[in-house]
Symmetry: none
Subunit: 193 residues, 4 copies
DNA sequence: CATGAATGAGCGTTCATTCAT
DNA sequence: AATGAATGAACGCTCATTCAT
């Protein structure tokens, strides 16, 4: 308990180091000893918390992806209209990138590998799709294929985040949140005729 | 020309095999001997066309990414309005995914690794950004940060393509092209009044 | 003495656990933590009794091998004739396998690794060889090379025990003791005429 | 073809090196790089011939064990009497140890690990047991449990070989072949009464 | 030119051993 | 004395790359 050591400290140090290196270099370009070194632990210690490297990656992905979905759901639930639900979610994702840079980039990077086999209860795509389905039922959102609508909503946010990781957008993503949300809403809103 | 072999045939067989395996399994999970086997050439022959595996990946990415940019530019140029330029580009990308499934998935998959260091003259992002900048100047497109606008345009297409690779959207992407283009235009059009 | 713990209890729990696992899985396939777990002690405690894993194996082998030699000697000593000495020793070894299954298998398994460097005072091979030398001197046993004679005596018993460990002989080995002893005696007895 | 290299040379160099090191140090105490070094090949080359270390050990064991059984069978078949069959087999095994020292020691050493799971058609134990069963049927060999009889025959030979590996018997084992065979025969022959 | 057997650096992983508590 | 989390050397194995044929 002295000198800044407490139970579970190693695990979170490993998680943090892994997340950073995975985001910065990619999973495959990050050897286990490199994670251990950055975490300041021995290689063997990593295997006390994870059965193998793949489990580390999978748990890091799955747990955070599910957590993100949960938070996204909690963010949209209290909002009265679909428009405000979407604005809240867009802002939340933007802030998520600003706040949890390593984690967000890791989730973005690994989606192509992990999402094919991801079988978690909660996931952000379904949250958005459900909000949109509800919005269509309520007549606030123009009726169209659910996944196409979801692409219209998630696409701009993910793309802006991607530009951020390439350095093509600078400064906090939250600054662009309202602009993005506004554009998205125009793309999906049911036009009065 | 006899015996079914001509200059450059081997190279294109290698490229095709690599593209398919990279798209299907990922670059890191694809050993060079596996590419050679699928291409029907010896491992050593692959090294006659590419100095190493990384160069194969880089050239495959860079050349096709630049080619895609060029075609995108050629597609939008003749169109008279920004709206039609964007519709043409969206349709082109959708058809690109339907037509060149392996290549498109490879470009999507590798963007996060390659785009950080990509230094090619032509690239799709700049094409779209330029079209939008022009549209803003012409007063057709609402004025906002160029990259945010670009995200609003590219995001939905890329996201729909991504959903296609996860199997969350089925059937040819071109079927959704008009819907997507329509939504995108609503997101960026300059509102009258 | 209360709470079921007394001096040396831990050591014997460790020994027993190690013996069982070594016999069942082999020495190299038995991690130290697995021994500790089966013994119900911490890994560190094991190192209070033995300097390292090799010493555990060596002491387990050496002490029990020497003890076996001692008991074998005590068994044959009171017997009046070589024939009865051998019958007694054969029966004793058979019963030893039936009674101390783990220990016996361990000694059998490790002999090839340990016997090369074994330097203990007492050992079963010498006991048998001495009994036979004595028998030759007394004219009861046919004269031949001492170690060849020893092989004729020990071989059948060890081989039967080996078959038992492979499951090629079933039931208690003691059941076969008389048969084996009878055969052995015929093999070494000095023929009259 | 020049300078002493021909197809299959590497494999046999690997086999020889492995056999020697396994016999000398034991399988578990022999790292793959050590085998490669002694064979004068790179580590990777070993994996061109064997899928993994265990397969190397298993194939080395299984193939040679089966071959030994085959040769043993071919040795005993032409002999007219059980007595001469056994004498021939004993001599053959003794010469086998003298001739193929590394291989013989390896088979002896690994029997405890491999024989439990060995499922090959041919094996020396069954050959001997069958010869004995036949001898009992013919009235040449005293009737008793087949495996006990087999232990009486194989035991002395294996034990003598074991003594040879410990240095307790010196010189070629073939020198002792007749003595051993004579003893074995006395142990199992059907006594006229 | 094309071949593919051979190479060996570097990976993921295990486990005997230590030592702060 | 007893504990068990932490250690890191050493293992088995892979695969990008080379080069004699």
């Amino acid at each position: 308990m002295q000198q800044g050591s407490f139970k579970g400290e190693l695990k979170s140090r490993i998680d943090e180091a892994a997340l950073h290196l995975f985001a910065e270099r990619g999973v495959d370009a990050t050897p286990v000893p490199m994670i251990a070194e950055r975490a300041g632990v021995a290689v063997g210690s990593l295997y006390r918390y994870y059965a193998n490297k793949n489990e580390l990656v999978a748990r890091l992905y799955t747990e955070n992806y599910a957590r993100l979905a949960g938070e996204l759901d909690r963010i949209q639930a209290p909002e009265p209209s679909t428009r405000r639900k979407i604005a809240a979610m867009v802002r939340f994702i933007c802030e998520f990138f600003d706040r949890e840079w390593d984690l967000a980039r890791f989730l973005l990077l690994e989606q192509h590998v992990r999402l094919k086999t991801y079988r978690g209860a909660a996931n952000p795509v379904d949250i958005v799709r459900d909000v949109l389905a509800d919005g269509m039922r309520r007549g606030e959102v123009r009726s169209r294929d659910g996944m196409v609508a979801t692409a219209l909503v998630m696409g701009p946010v993910i793309q802006a985040a991607t530009f951020l990781t390439y350095g093509r957008i600078s400064g906090p993503l939250s600054n662009a949140a309202d602009e993005i949300a506004h554009g998205i809403w125009a793309a999906i809103v049911r036009q009065r005729d």
